[in-house]
């Protein structure tokens, strides 16, 4: 053994083998098996039926990731410029929701977005609906917010935003301020400094932020179940259904999970290549 300390990695290796490698191998095995135990490709040919679910999952996850990026990047930039004390407090506030249970937070959004929920009651109280009805001659009693794709995306953004902010922030805060001064000294205005120095140097943070938001968003089932009301079936829900409940079919579920995993890995690989390309593109 080269390093005596590597002995201490032993438990982790065992843990990984038991709970990551073996389950993945089981999924692969199940995906290629039929109910009677023989080899089959039927599970994969059936996936075609669920193409809309795939598309919707990737679409909503993409949308949520994009929104997280658009919110997270400016926040990270602004935060990195503040004093150390302010940064600590702001970071704590950003992390604060994560100290509460994930399901609890999502339930809270349910009661906010419901037809008779907090927001709609607030709108009603300030007379918003009366106003709209009197202007347009309609008869609106509430806005439909819950059980829409928008609600699902909102849930994703709300839950995963810190995962976008943290990596971007930690890269930007370490950015050498002298590089920015150097760029300004060489004739770059603020926009050029951002485009040619800050952005390319913060790209590693952006890429890991995207990964950390996109992956859980594309496979979530709790958010779509609670805020989408089962009408917005996503891959996570599809897979869950195959393992629990009436549609019990772990073979199909495994196949779906495997395909999703492969698509995600391909997406990430392409994005990372694109990221490297981006740095090159800036060079060119």
């Amino acid at each position: 053994m080269k390093n005596r300390l590597s002995l201490f990695a032993g438990p982790y290796v065992v843990w990984m083998a038991l709970f990551v490698v073996i389950p993945i191998l089981m999924i692969v095995f199940y995906a290629f098996s039929s109910a009677d135990g023989g080899f089959t490709l039927d599970n994969f040919t059936r996936i075609g039926e669920y193409l809309p679910v795939f598309l919707r999952s990737f679409e909503l996850a993409f949308l949520a990731t994009l929104i997280c990026l658009l919110i997270g990047y400016p926040i990270s930039c602004a935060l990195a410029r503040e004093g150390a004390q302010f940064q600590r407090i702001a970071m704590m506030l950003i992390m604060l929701p994560m100290w509460m249970n994930f399901l609890l937070r999502t339930y809270a959004w349910m009661s906010i977005l419901e037809n008779t929920g907090l927001l709609n009651r607030f709108f009603s109280a300030i007379g918003l609906f009366d106003l709209i009805n009197s202007i347009f001659g309609t008869d609106i009693q509430y806005f439909k917010m819950i059980n829409t794709p928008g609600a699902v995306v909102l849930g994703m953004v709300y839950n995963f935003l810190p995962f976008m902010i943290l990596p971007i922030y930690s890269v930007i805060v370490k950015l050498d301020h002298r590089l920015i001064e150097a760029a300004r000294d060489l004739g770059a205005d603020s926009a050029t400094v951002f485009r040619r120095v800050t952005l390319p140097l913060s790209l590693p943070g952006v890429l890991s932020g995207i990964t950390m938001v996109f992956v859980p968003a594309v496979s979530t089932f709790a958010i779509s179940q609670l805020l989408g009301g089962g009408k917005q079936m996503l891959l996570g829900n599809l897979i869950e259904m195959q393992f629990k409940g009436a549609a019990y079919n772990p073979y199909l579920g495994s196949a779906v999970a495997l395909v999703m995993m492969i698509v995600v890995v391909i997406c990430m690989a392409v994005m990372n290549r694109f990221g490297e390309g981006e740095e090159q593109a800036v060079v060119l």
């Binding site: 001064e181 000294d185 060489l186 140097l201």
Partner: protein, 393 residues
């Protein structure tokens, strides 16, 4: 007559309650090599940042070619900077680092529309620059793969390729080892002369300042202590601070008895200085190399050798005169505890007015500690940086 290019007029800079620059007045001529010299925290980097545009004076004016540029941002000034530790872009290779400024569309004089330089011109100018700084063939290399000296050259090329009227250099050789520093000093002087532009150079290293500059500005505590040619500064220091900071010196209390006569240790010495009041208390500077050692009975002053250090070219000896310790440089070996006499020629004695620095320097009784403080090998650029960065928040 040289043409004036930059003028700092009554510039005052304050951060919170700290006064960094206290009403500085300074002008810089075109094509001049001017050095701002001083210990850390003296305000030299702040002065450079005023000219670079990274800082606005709390009060006072920065003039460029007669125009007030207080509010002109750095990217619109005809000035480029070589930063301490270079600040090269890690995501760009050598060529692209140098081409950075050229790739930014600029409006030609008298024109509104910004235009990009054609790629062929960028190519040509970067290649020319690489040749000037002796880095031909390095254009595709990554910054991380370069040595300190090479990074230094890239930083210089990156600034010079924009053809600035003035190049600002902030301790550019601080991170290099001794030999490389000597080479780069010559290199910088050569570049300045070939390009024919103004260099404003910040350093704490007096040797560097004397070797390269046309004009040296010695600063301390946010004040300019003396402005002059290297020879002036060395030979005719204005006060005890300058005398101590530039080279080694013995600074002794004296009394001016008449024009050309100064009294030290109750003995009268001939000197060249005039224009003091009769019996005015003064500081007297005697450079260690201006002292001649003679047999005890022939000396103007007599003392005991307390320490001898071999320095290669000469011996540094510490001699006790009536309880006050002098540093003397000599090629003659004098053993410890021997009694010696000394003679000083009139042009070896420099008389200065008393100042706030009087009595702070000059006694070599704590020789070894003081020597370390002066010696550059002990200098820690990190320490200075922390101190100065603090002011830049």
């Amino acid at each position: 007559m040289a043409k004036e290019l930059i003028r700092l007029s009554d510039c005052f800079v304050q951060f919170d309650d700290d006064i960094i620059l206290d009403h500085i007045n300074l002008y810089i001529n075109d094509k001049e090599f001017l050095t701002l010299l001083g210990p850390s925290g003296c305000g030299k980097t702040t002065t450079l940042r005023l000219i670079g545009g990274f800082l606005k004076p709390t009060s006072g004016e920065v003039l460029f070619d007669g125009e007030r540029i207080n509010d002109v941002p750095p990217h619109k000034r005809a000035v480029n900077t070589v930063f301490q530790k270079y600040a090269l872009f890690p995501h760009l290779n050598v060529f692209e680092n140098i081409a950075f400024g050229l790739r930014i569309p600029q409006a030609a004089p008298g024109e509104k529309k910004k235009r990009k330089l054609p790629e062929s011109e960028i190519q040509q100018r970067v290649m020319e620059m690489l040749e000037i700084v002796n880095l031909k063939g390095f254009e595709k290399r990554s910054i991380a793969s370069l040595s300190g000296g090479q990074q230094q050259r890239v930083a210089i090329a990156r600034a010079l390729v924009n053809q600035p009227k003035v190049l600002l250099l902030d301790e550019p050789l601080g991170a290099l080892d001794m030999r490389l520093r000597k080479d780069m000093q010559n290199e910088l002087k050569r570049i300045q002369q070939t390009m024919g532009i103004t260099f404003i150079y910040v350093t704490h290293d007096q040797e560097e300042a004397l070797a390269m500059s046309d004009t040296v500005v010695v600063m301390d505590g946010g004040h300019i202590q003396q402005i002059g040619t290297p020879e002036d500064i060395y030979n005719e220091p204005k006060n005890a601070f300058v005398a101590d900071f530039i080279g080694e010196s013995n600074i002794i209390d004296g009394i001016m008895r008449a024009d050309g006569v100064v009294e030290i240790f109750n003995r009268k010495f001939q000197c060249l200085d005039k224009g003091f009041e009769k019996d005015e208390p003064v500081d007297v500077v005697i450079r260690p190399e201006d002292v001649d050692i003679v047999p005890e009975d022939q000396g103007q002053l007599r003392g005991t050798v307390t320490s001898v250090t071999f320095k290669g070219m000469q011996y540094d000896i510490i001699v006790d005169f009536y309880g006050f310790k002098w540093l003397i440089q000599t090629t003659d070996f004098c053993p410890v505890d021997s009694r010696i006499g000394i003679k000083i020629d009139p042009d070896g004695i420099h008389v200065m007015k008393k100042s706030q620095y009087s009595g702070m320097f000059g006694d070599y009784s704590s020789y070894s500690e003081e020597y370390e403080e002066i010696s550059d090998a002990e200098y820690d650029p990190e320490a200075e940086e922390e101190q100065e960065d603090g002011h830049e928040e």
